[in-house]
């Protein structure tokens, strides 16, 4: 179970996301997870072995390393990425639940169910409305919260995002204040700044997606209210269905797959 498996799981969610959601997923996998696996892990690979303190006192190096790096950047990023990508599974579960309900209706032979074949239910893409809208919005909200929390944790633990070359340590059993040298500080600073920048881009994308969903929600509501005002007693099912189909067609034209195929 590794990043590849997470990619498989989240690829399925891609189908029911908005276009901004698909861009966000692409940025997450290519600019964060892939960079982490392919580059950052190598940079931090020798972080403890090459952490050198100016002392021969056994144990001083271990203690000083532990004091300055309570949790490594790599592990923090790995946890951040896992937590940030998991809310999308709420959406996947909701979609699976809706599909299950539709299949049950189909099996009962319900007249309301307009599907000809159970395969059609499996392949159908659901519109983000109703309870699914709330689930989707909550998942974006949680993503934002997790991103912000981890960025704050980073800032709090490492006093800014810069990796210094030298750290002065006087934790026991170091005999006095010793100089300890961090390996590859500049490269680590570069990657830290890169990951922070991409994390900020992801936050912006999430905020944009949230705004987009809210705007769509209010527009739909005002359309319904306007329709009801014009035709208060007339329930034109055909027109409503046609409107929904048109919306679906225009949405699917907008939501062409960018980068990821589901």
């Amino acid at each position: 179970m590794d990043w590849g498996a997470l990619h498989t799981i989240l690829g399925g969610v891609n189908k029911h996301s908005t276009s901004i959601g698909k861009i966000w997923l692409t940025v997450l996998f290519i600019f964060r997870i892939m960079i982490l696996v392919v580059a950052a892990e190598r940079v931090w690979g020798d972080e403890q072995d090459d952490f050198v303190c100016n002392t021969l006192q056994p144990g001083c190096k271990n203690v000083c390393y532990d004091h300055f790096f309570p949790i490594s950047h790599i592990r923090l990023w790995a946890l951040q990425l896992i937590f940030v990508s998991t809310p999308a599974l709420l959406v996947a579960m909701h979609v699976a639940y809706r599909r299950h309900e539709k299949k049950r209706q189909f099996r009962k032979g319900d007249q309301k169910c307009e599907y000809k074949d159970i395969e059609e239910i499996r392949k159908q893409r659901f519109h983000i409305e109703g309870s699914l809208w709330w689930t989707y919005t909550s998942s974006i909200f949680f993503r934002l919260v997790f991103e912000a929390v981890f960025m704050y944790a980073f800032y709090f633990m490492y006093d800014g995002f810069r990796m210094p070359r030298l750290m002065k340590c006087n934790a026991w059993p170091c005999p006095n204040t010793v100089d300890c040298f961090v390996s590859r500080p500049t490269e680590k600073t570069v990657f830290t700044i890169f990951m922070i920048a991409v994390s900020s881009i992801c936050i912006l994308l999430n905020v944009a997606e949230l705004c987009y969903l809210l705007t769509k929600f209010f527009l739909r509501r005002s359309k319904k209210a306007a329709n009801q005002k014009q035709h208060p007693n007339h329930e034109n099912k055909e027109e409503t269905k046609q409107n929904e189909m048109n919306e679906l067609i225009s949405d699917s034209c907008q939501n062409t797959v960018i980068g990821f195929s589901s």
């Binding site: 179970m1 144990g59 271990n62 532990d66 790599i74 790995a78 896992i82």
Partner: protein
């Protein structure tokens, strides 16, 4: 065979689980196995090479490491995760057995064509009858394994905390030597994280157990509120054939939800099924 292989095996079980069971499986794979593979293994990677003792006595380092870490956290977690996920295979085996029985039934009723056989393989089994007992047993075993491992962890590493310094006086160390552990804070963070997810899994398993028991009681209540009409001996022979028909229907319901649908859609098949007293 690695974690990916286990994932493939258990995804099949996912289909026949309750919704709580599916959430449990997601938590296991994403928050425990994935965190173990992607993060925890690299934290404990240098646990022995960076374990330093304040002595130059050869062998002291090895002996002290072995004394304080009889079994490493990552190996304990790996064992825990394997044992906790394996009871789900009981359910998989039972489902496979039931599917085998359904296929035999189809052959007996003379509809062993590939389309019906495929449908038997694809449909979702209802958790009732003997499958319910197997499912409940698997959940109980999961709970048991989780609790046992949490206890073992507590016994081996009291307080779940990783200390920076341990004092060791095992032979051949000349006297009490100070030994320093690598990355104790990071290890404590991950130990606490794995402990929390383990507790969440225990809570999910208990919730699933309660849900299954409540559902079974509710179903029983429904059965009791529709008693059979009239048990007089005057209708003796009719009742016995009705009783037989009820048994056949129950068997069909228990065995296969969609098989019943198949029979409903195909009246010829249903007739043969009704006449089949060997079902």
């Amino acid at each position: 065979m690695n974690w990916a292989g286990l994932y493939t095996v258990l995804s099949g079980v996912n289909r026949h689980s309750t919704s709580i069971g599916r959430i449990w499986l997601s938590v296991i794979f994403i928050f425990r196995i994935m965190v173990l593979v992607v993060a925890a293994e690299s934290v404990w990677g240098d646990e022995k090479s960076a374990f330093t003792c304040n002595t130059q006595q050869p062998g002291c380092n090895s002996v002290c490491y072995d004394h304080f870490f009889p079994i490493s956290h990552v190996r304990l977690w790996a064992l825990q995760l394997i044992l906790v996920t394996t009871p789900a295979l009981l359910v998989a085996m039972h489902v496979a057995y039931q599917q085998h029985q359904e296929k035999k039934l189809l052959v007996l009723t003379g509809h062993a064509d590939p389309k019906h056989m495929e449908e038997v393989k694809k449909h979702k089994m209802r958790i009732s009858g003997s499958l319910w007992w197997t499912y409940v047993c698997s959940v109980v075993f999961r709970l048991l394994f989780e609790a046992v491992f949490m206890y073992i962890f507590y016994m081996l590493y009291p307080g779940y905390q990783m200390v920076r310094l341990v004092k060791c006086e095992a032979y051949p160390c000349p006297n009490t030597v100070d030994c320093f552990i690598s990355r104790p804070t990071e290890k404590t963070i991950f130990t606490v994280f794995m402990l929390v997810t383990s507790s969440i899994c225990i809570v999910l398993n208990m919730a699933e157990l309660v849900y299954l028991v409540v559902r079974a009681c509710a179903r029983r209540g429904q059965h009791n509120s529709n008693p059979s009409s009239g048990k007089g001996s005057f209708y003796g022979h009719k009742l016995s054939s009705e009783y037989k028909q009820n048994e056949i229907n129950q068997l069909l319901t228990e065995q296969d939800g969609s098989l019943k649908d198949m029979l409903r859609r195909n009246p010829v098949l249903q007739e043969k099924g009704d006449r089949c007293s060997a079902c």
